[in-house]
């Protein structure tokens, strides 16, 4: 109660999120866990230094910086030219081109608002000029800009992989692949909507091979990056962390030396701006890990699971509640903070109900995407209103149809896990079709038969030890300590 009150006061005062989370962790450890005093609260800094053991975390600053470099360069215009040459001639083609260009650019830049500014800034006037209705064009480019976090390399996915609390930890490569399936479904739904809802508009230049060839030649270096990154990761050439460093080097070489859209003198400014963004995230994530530690100690996830079982929700009801909760959360919070804060509570319960943590991760990210667009507080709506100089109310009305499509996509992805985890399991040699978990199945143990269930294998490579694993270790330690205490307490014969 005290904790909730403190959090509420800090939030409404508009204190930075890292302070809110840090104070929450301090109060939790000091008041509830009895670790007050400097010795106990040093855990806040210990969590920060513990990031030196999480290799996958290194990918976050690298991808943020490479995205910023590409965002400041000429990649957006080149991608638009390719997409326009490819589909611009068909019905609703310019809208579909905006969608394709946004998805690829958002994947490269890793930022929804940047994508909206870079691609929307080019496509919105072009769509109006071609005769598209203003609300349709406005809503469509605003929605298309929010799709990037589903397409790898995705920062929210990396953060989910670090924060996940499932029985089995999540491999970033698997999560990227699961996200691709989901992105394909959502893009397809939006493309179909664009074709049928665009209305009678004059076609842009008819399709021509020579135009496509020129656009491909100009945009080849932009299009090659996802191929290099994903091909490198899934071809076993490098790990996601190494891929992120490769993307930094590639982005700088392409934008400074090949496209020459950035000068060496401009580069530091772009990097510093990206690093300030990353710095804010670092503190939020590190302090949230301290909150996670408290939740392990207080067994919050177990209590939440018991409560869910007491309500008799089942997996279907549980996922419905999770979706509503996350969409509402996404309206008021940024995606990274929401992922770090709520994954540790939601994921163990979901896994215990038989839901794949990979699948949950993708559902989490789609919810956050919707949050980017859902009024009253939605980053992309504010950005669109400012960039396109349109009243906020008009932007809100304009995104409603596409927001409904995203919600329909969310439902589809939530209850048809094959669309997300199917490709991952198929690649591992398993069945492509994955039924939705409808019963409260016990969580499958991922340990090898030679390992004791209480002692999971240490985190390796890109695998981050889950809270569930930490909980098992804690429990095992407590159980091991119990008989010892009993022996100590037993009277001497």
């Amino acid at each position: 109660m005290i904790l909730a009150l403190v959090l509420f006061v800090l939030l409404v005062l508009g204190v930075p999120l890292f302070v809110v989370i840090g104070v929450a962790a301090a109060v939790a450890f000091g008041v509830y866990a009895g670790h007050g005093g400097v010795e106990g609260l040093v855990v806040l800094v210990v969590k920060l230094s513990s990031l030196t053991t999480k290799n996958v975390f290194l990918a976050i600053p690298f991808f943020i910086v490479s995205g910023a470099v590409m965002g400041a360069g000429s990649i957006a215009a080149r991608l638009v030219a390719v997409a326009e040459a490819l589909v611009g001639g068909m019905r609703g083609g310019l809208a579909v081109a905006a969608l394709f260009a946004s998805v690829i650019f958002a994947a490269l830049s890793g930022s929804s608002p940047v994508t909206l500014i870079a691609i929307g800034g080019i496509m919105f006037p072009a769509m109006l000029k071609a005769g598209y209705r203003e609300p349709f064009a406005l809503g469509f480019v605003t929605t298309a800009g929010s799709l990037g976090c589903l397409v790898p390399p995705s920062i929210p996915m990396l953060v989910y992989a670090i924060s996940v609390t499932g029985t089995s930890s999540v491999d970033v490569r698997d999560l990227f692949l699961a996200g691709l399936g989901a992105a394909f479904v959502v893009v397809l739904m939006l493309a179909v909507y664009a074709i049928f809802a665009a209305g009678p508009v004059q076609a842009t230049a008819a399709f021509s091979w020579s135009r496509l060839k020129t656009a491909l030649r100009e945009g080849a270096w932009a299009l090659a990056l996802p191929v290099l990154i994903l091909g490198g990761i899934y071809g076993g050439l490098f790990t996601p962390t190494e891929a992120s460093a490769v993307s930094v080097v590639y982005a700088v070489v392409v934008e400074v030396f090949i496209h020459r859209s950035l000068t060496l003198a401009q580069l530091p400014q772009v990097i510093v701006k990206a690093t300030t963004h990353m710095g804010g995230l670092l503190l939020v994530i590190a302090l949230s890990l301290a909150v996670n530690d408290f939740m392990v100690e207080a067994e919050v996830a177990e209590a939440a699971l018991q409560q869910i079982r007491a309500w008799g929700l089942g997996a279907i009801g549980f996922m419905m509640v999770v979706n509503v909760f996350l969409v509402v959360t996404g309206m008021f919070m940024d995606s990274i903070s929401a992922i770090v804060l709520f994954t540790p509570v939601i994921a163990p319960a979901a896994v215990a109900l038989g839901i794949d943590p990979l699948h949950l991760g993708v559902v989490f990210i789609v919810n956050m995407e919707i949050g980017y667009l859902a009024p009253p507080i939605a980053t992309n709506l504010f950005v669109a209103s400012t960039v396109f100089k349109k009243p906020f109310g008009l932007v809100v009305r304009a995104v409603m149809p596409t927001l409904l499509i995203l919600c329909a996509g969310l439902l589809l992805l939530t209850y048809v896990p094959t669309l997300t985890v199917g490709p991952v399991h198929a690649l591992r040699g398993g069945a492509f079709f994955r039924p939705f978990a409808t019963t409260a199945a016990p969580p499958p143990q991922q340990n090898t038969p030679t390992q004791s269930p209480a002692e999971p294998a240490p985190a390796q490579g890109n695998r981050v030890m889950s809270i569930e694993e930490m909980m098992r270790i804690n429990r095992a330690k407590r159980e091991a300590a119990q008989p010892a205490k009993q022996v100590e307490a037993a009277p001497a014969p």
Binding site: G14, F18, V45, S49, L51, I258, T276
Partner: protein, 254 residues
């Protein structure tokens, strides 16, 4: 009196500008070192492998070309591939009369330099840069904290977005000051905890004559890495007091 205050304020602003310039420089150096080291390590691992992908591909396509022959064909194919990529890059960059000839020549020079550089990397560092990721993770913390400190100056920290709209304009100023004090207080408290944390590691290192308290792969004392934390955290605390939490365009004038 007001002149004295104005002078002190100007001196503080100059000092702050100096700190900012240093932080920006540090960010560039750290990021370049991190990305460069991890990139070179990945490159080393790929090219130091006894049997690379190209060699396996050659062996699969031409089973007769095994052993020494494969080791000649594969590097040649790789060099040709590199030449092709460099040439394509140069052609994207340079167009017009005479660009083709010039690009061919420059591509050949760059390819030779790339091949020689890679061989040098593999031969010069037989064990690769095994410490690169550990070092990059340590630098990442320095980078992140320095970035967080700069974010304070530019009102870049994540805040609950609805909060600024909840308060009537008459209360915005006192609420902003309360936020600054809380944010500054917490940052300075974190800085203090960081000193305690670094000292614990220093004691561990000092009492073991420098044998304990080191990172595993990147053989640097932990206290040295963690000892940096209090600096950006303190600057951040002071910046919260000086610049505030919310940007002036959100209705706060200070």
């Amino acid at each position: 009196m007001s002149d004295e205050r104005g002078g002190a304020r100007r001196s503080l602003m100059r000092l702050e500008a100096l700190v900012t310039a240093f932080e920006r420089g540090l960010i560039i150096v750290l990021l370049a070192t991190m990305a460069g080291a991890v990139f070179l390590d990945a490159l080393h691992r790929i090219f130091a492998a006894k049997s690379g992908r190209t060699e396996r591909l050659v062996a699969a396509i031409l089973p007769a070309a095994s052993g020494a022959l494969s080791q000649v064909i594969a590097p040649t194919l790789l060099a040709l591939g590199s030449f092709g990529v460099v040439y394509a890059a140069l052609r994207t960059r340079q167009q017009g009369v005479g660009a083709r000839k010039r690009s061919l020549l420059i591509a050949a020079i760059i390819t030779v330099a790339l091949v020689a550089g890679t061989r040098l990397l593999v031969l010069g560092l037989p064990n690769g840069l095994v410490w690169s990721q550990q070092m990059a993770l340590c630098f990442m913390l320095w980078l992140g904290l320095t970035g967080a400190s700069l974010a304070t100056r530019e009102h870049g920290h994540i805040v609950f977005e609805l909060a600024s709209k909840l308060w009537p304009s008459s209360l915005k100023m006192p609420v902003e000051w309360l936020s600054r004090l809380l944010a500054a207080g917490f940052s300075l408290f974190l800085a203090y905890l960081s000193v305690v944390h670094a000292h614990e590691h220093y004691v561990e290192w000092a009492t073991s004559d420098g044998l304990a308290g080191l990172f595993e792969a990147f053989r640097v004392p932990k206290w040295f890495v963690y000892g940096f934390f209090p600096i950006p955290l303190t600057i951040m605390g002071l910046r919260f007091l000086a610049f505030g939490v919310r940007a002036p365009e959100e209705g706060i004038t200070t």
